[in-house]
Amino acid sequence: MMTFRITLLSGLFTLSVLSAACSSAQTPPKAPPAPDAVVGMTNTLRFEPDTVRVPVGGTVEWRNTSLLVHTVTGDPARATLEGSARLPEGAEPFDSGNLEPEAVFRHTFTVPGVYGYFCIPHEGAKMKGVVIVSPKQ
């Protein structure tokens, strides 16, 4: 299971530094693989789209497209309301921590099933989403 977070700005900076460093060796920088689904986080306290489907081993990328600080928290232990978070049996909880405006968070799902996640500061405003991870065919 893999989880990481970067900000768009620092990510771009890293890429440009990398490409400058590598240009003499003529090797293009290795971009991270494209996510299987992208979810935005809004000023209206929504994950958009609120439900995404990915294959097992797939990665979801959350982009904080709002001016607010949000979290992506798939951890029933951090939820205070029923229905905010749920995990399939055997899946590890995940939590982005505070995501500033423009920050990006990725999580790779290795256990199939239905994941319910939420945003900690906006749990009361019912800011939550679902990831459906389908098993290998």
């Binding site: 000023n43 306290l45 001016l67 600080v69 309301l81 906006h122 749990e123 009361g124 405003a125 019912k126």
Partner: protein, 328 residues
């Protein structure tokens, strides 16, 4: 108000129709000097009926008000980044738990908007209230603004209202609009050592229930537990320049009172397990000789889409760090 359309009804409704237009005060659209004689009289009556008036009278001149049981509490609340929610004028939906029904109204006395809401300012269907007739700072509409920062250091040392207080507040908050203008609020040059229409507990109160049915502050906010709240006089700035001073500033760290779509909760929809900080600068000034309030729009420097200047600030901060301990 068209007097010829006034139905000849019971005493209660004869008192109240004249007051209906007073609710314009809530949106800062009218001034008391523009009110007719009868309406000004009704407003005086409503103010005189503020529910905690007697309590405030018993406490306001106390020279050495008692200290907080168990000793002072020091509180720090901060938001260091992210956005804020700026409330826009809206017609608040009315909660039966707080406002009763047309046949048994509750929460009507005090300065309209600061404390109660007169029944003629409420829309009703059958025997229940639906929403306010005019907009107020309390409702479901909001804007998100960037770069919200807030820092509150408060000490709750004095227990009750009095002529003096040992409570302390240092407060600073700022946020930015789309054009990059910075709005800032600072408090408190002076703390409200006693309240006007409701107690302020020396200017700072901790671990107390406020608003809604309590009649401590406006009934247009739901009944909510406040970990800390303060009332004092401070200033309003835009891009570093003072626009309005002194202004009544009220801040409070409470349980979460918004629901899906950021709708302002009714009493049975509050989320006790999450927190919010509210900053409120109402379009009113304290009127100490009369233990009341008079209408005065805030010079916020922020223009609404309709070209009118926003006459109040009601701003919510939601990614907070908090710390509290006994002792100063």
């Amino acid at each position: 108000m068209n007097r010829s359309h006034r139905p000849p009804t019971s005493h209660t409704s004869r008192v109240f129709p004249a007051v209906a237009a007073l609710i314009l005060l809530l949106s800062g659209l009218a001034s008391s000097s523009a009110l007719g004689q009868p309406m000004a009289k009704q407003l005086q009556k409503l103010k005189a009926l503020a529910p905690a008036r007697g309590y405030v009278i018993a406490h306001k001149d106390v020279k050495n008000p008692p200290k907080l049981f168990g000793g002072p509490i020091s509180v720090t609340v901060t938001q260091s980044s992210g956005g804020v929610f700026v409330a826009l004028p809206d017609r608040r939906r009315l909660d039966t738990y707080v406002f009763g029904t047309p046949s048994m109204p509750r929460a009507f006395a005090g300065t309209p908007g600061i404390n109660g809401v007169p029944p003629p300012a409420r829309e009703a269907e059958d025997d229940h209230y639906t929403r306010m007739k005019k907009p107020s700072p309390f409702g479901d509409k909001y804007l998100v603004m960037a770069d919200g920062r807030m820092e509150l250091h408060a000490v709750d040392a004095t227990a009750v209202d009095g002529a003096t207080t040992e409570d302390q507040v240092r407060f600073k908050a700022s946020w930015k609009d789309k054009q990059g203008n910075t709005y800032e609020v600072r408090c408190c040059g002076m703390l409200a050592s006693h309240g006007m229409e409701f107690p302020t507990f020396g200017g700072v109160v901790t671990n107390h229930i406020l608003h809604g049915v309590t009649r401590l502050g406006t009934a247009l906010m739901p009944t909510e537990f406040a970990y800390v709240a303060f009332w004092g006089m401070g200033e309003v700035r835009k891009n570093g320049k003072v626009l309005d001073k002194p202004r009544l500033i009220h801040g409070m760290l409470t349980e979460y009172v918004r629901g899906e779509g950021y709708k302002l909760a009714f009493d049975d929809e509050v989320t006790p397990t999450r927190m919010q900080f509210h900053l409120m600068i109402p379009p009113f000034m304290p009127d100490p000789p009369n233990l009341s309030f008079t209408e005065k729009p805030v010079k916020t420097g922020f223009t609404l889409p309709n070209g009118m200047e926003l006459p109040f600030w009601h701003v919510m901060f939601e990614n907070l760090e908090t710390k509290a301990e006994r002792g100063q």
